[in-house]
């Protein structure tokens, strides 16, 4: 099976500091790769590189069959639709002067969807993230954190992406709302076959949503593989430290 997103030997340095040191992974269609690590592990840097928001010092990122970093600007504009970002804080990512409908329509226009179809498509996109058409005319500040995050997801899927990069996308949400957003991600995946590159420091979330997991520590992949196998029987001491932190918080 060919992967929708893959990286090979990614190295990224900031001055003398090596943020990523030879990171490789493969993400297949409709699967979730959980990227876990503590602050400074390099997980967000990796997210930025696979979105081509930042160039690596070495290594290759391929989106489908295309090398992400040898694309022309024009090719890149097309490619950007195939890989979409859902950030940690949706209220900063949504344009505060645009209603929900305007934000979504902006994406549809870029794809050349005819104007007369916008309204129906927007309602459809909201339904995908379990929101009613009542929200079409809301501004970001009128939305709760969970609603805004679901709008950010709707905006991402407006582009029919193959991959969604979720960078701590549920970390800032209250637990009750977090469950809704995690359910939304899972539904999209089973309905649309979109692959998730899911970055989180929260092992409970990673355990729940990921098929495969990549454990990063100081820029290196210390462990990777199917989530169950890695977390049930961690081989690396750092993974064990992360799991200990979680289990000690769980053992009531």
């Amino acid at each position: 099976m060919s992967s929708v997103l893959a990286a090979d030997g990614i190295v990224k340095r900031f001055g003398a500091f090596t943020a990523l040191d030879g990171v490789s992974f493969r993400l297949e269609r409709g699967r979730t790769l959980g990227v876990v690590g503590e602050s400074g592990s390099g997980k967000s840097t990796l997210g930025r590189i696979v979105m081509r928001l930042m160039a690596p010092d070495a290594g290759v990122v391929t989106l489908g069959d295309d090398d992400l970093f040898s694309m022309t600007e024009r090719q890149l504009r097309m490619a950007r639709r195939r890989i979409q970002l859902v950030p940690q804080d949706p209220r900063h990512a949504l344009n505060p002067t645009m209603t929900v409908q305007q934000s979504l329509a902006f994406q549809l226009r870029a794809q050349g969807v005819p104007t007369r179809e916008w309204s129906a498509r927007c309602v459809e996109l909201l339904a995908r993230v379990s929101l009613t058409a009542d929200y079409l005319h809301a501004y970001p500040h009128e939305l709760s954190g969970g609603q805004a995050q679901r709008i950010a997801i709707a905006r991402a899927i407006a582009n029919n992406p193959e991959v969604i990069v979720a960078d701590e996308a549920v970390s800032a949400l209250d637990k009750s709302v977090q469950a809704q957003v995690l359910n939304t991600f899972a539904e999209l995946q089973s309905d649309l076959g979109v692959a998730l590159f899911f970055i989180s420091h929260d092992l409970a979330v990673i355990e729940h949503i990921s098929d495969d997991v990549l454990v990063l520590n100081r820029g290196e992949v210390v462990e990777s593989g199917p989530t169950r196998a890695v977390l049930d029987d961690p081989k690396d001491p750092y993974t064990r430290v992360l799991l200990d932190a979680r289990h000690s918080a769980e053992a009531v």
Binding site: S176, A179, H208, V252
Partner: protein, 324 residues
Amino acid sequence: MSLGTTSAASGGQLDDQTPLTLDASNVSVSFRSPRGGWNTVVDSIGLGLERSQVTVLLGESGSGKTVFARTITGMAHPAAKVEGTVEFDGVELLSADRRALRRLHGDRIGMVPQDPNSSLDPMRRIGGQITETLLQHGKAPNRAAALVRATELLELVHIADPERVLHNYPHEISGGMRQRVAIAIAICCEPELIIADEPSSALDASVGVQVVRLLDDLRERMETAILFITHDIGIAALIASKPHDRVAVMLGGRIVELGFAHQVLHNAQHEYTRALLAAEPSANTPRGELAVVPDEVRMRRDWGPLRDVEPGHAVASTPQEVTA
């Protein structure tokens, strides 16, 4: 047991004779609404805190947990309308003047903030910040003695090379170390009460667990009461480690469930608490099927008073039960 003003204190307290470190009765906090009238952010909460006991305020954002904790320690927002009484060693904290509060804060009531960066002075060395607090509260006769004590305190919070850290500026040490320094300052006068507001949520999980364990260990050694604020059920379970520790679940400015940690976390009776526990992500729940806290429950504000369901465990009744 009476359901009067201190009704909430029934939850988690088996023995009415234990003297309370802090006794809050019927505390309400409201802010003037931009649309006129008042918004009630904390609604008639009664809570007693005991020595060596951890009381966790567990709630989501906007539940009023931080406002309540700040108010009962005499740090109400200046624009707030505060009602009720809070007794701390014979002093009524809500009406105490600034001088009286200044004597209590840092001396008998210690604060551990969420973000140590906002409580430590970035321009001064760690040593100076600890010794200043010690000297100000008369805990050391002179600077040399204060430095010796500061070194001991850093050892107490498990900092390996205290002499070096005393000479460091806050930015030169890690986030976890800064939080330990903040704890060292909070405990330097051996307070009877520590208020810890999400002390681990800005830290990496493994570091956060160490900080929580440290607080757990210190309250036993120093017989301190801890009021611990968190939104994280796992962290609540970790800090409320002793059988007599309590968890208070906050929703919409009220305590809707209060009891010993094992009662609230393993035998939750209030529908909000149950829904919140069920919403925890886990590998055992199939993807897409996480339980969601119903908005009707989360937004509801007309819960009845707390009633005991078993010794030490009190739950706010649902409105139907009240009318029935």
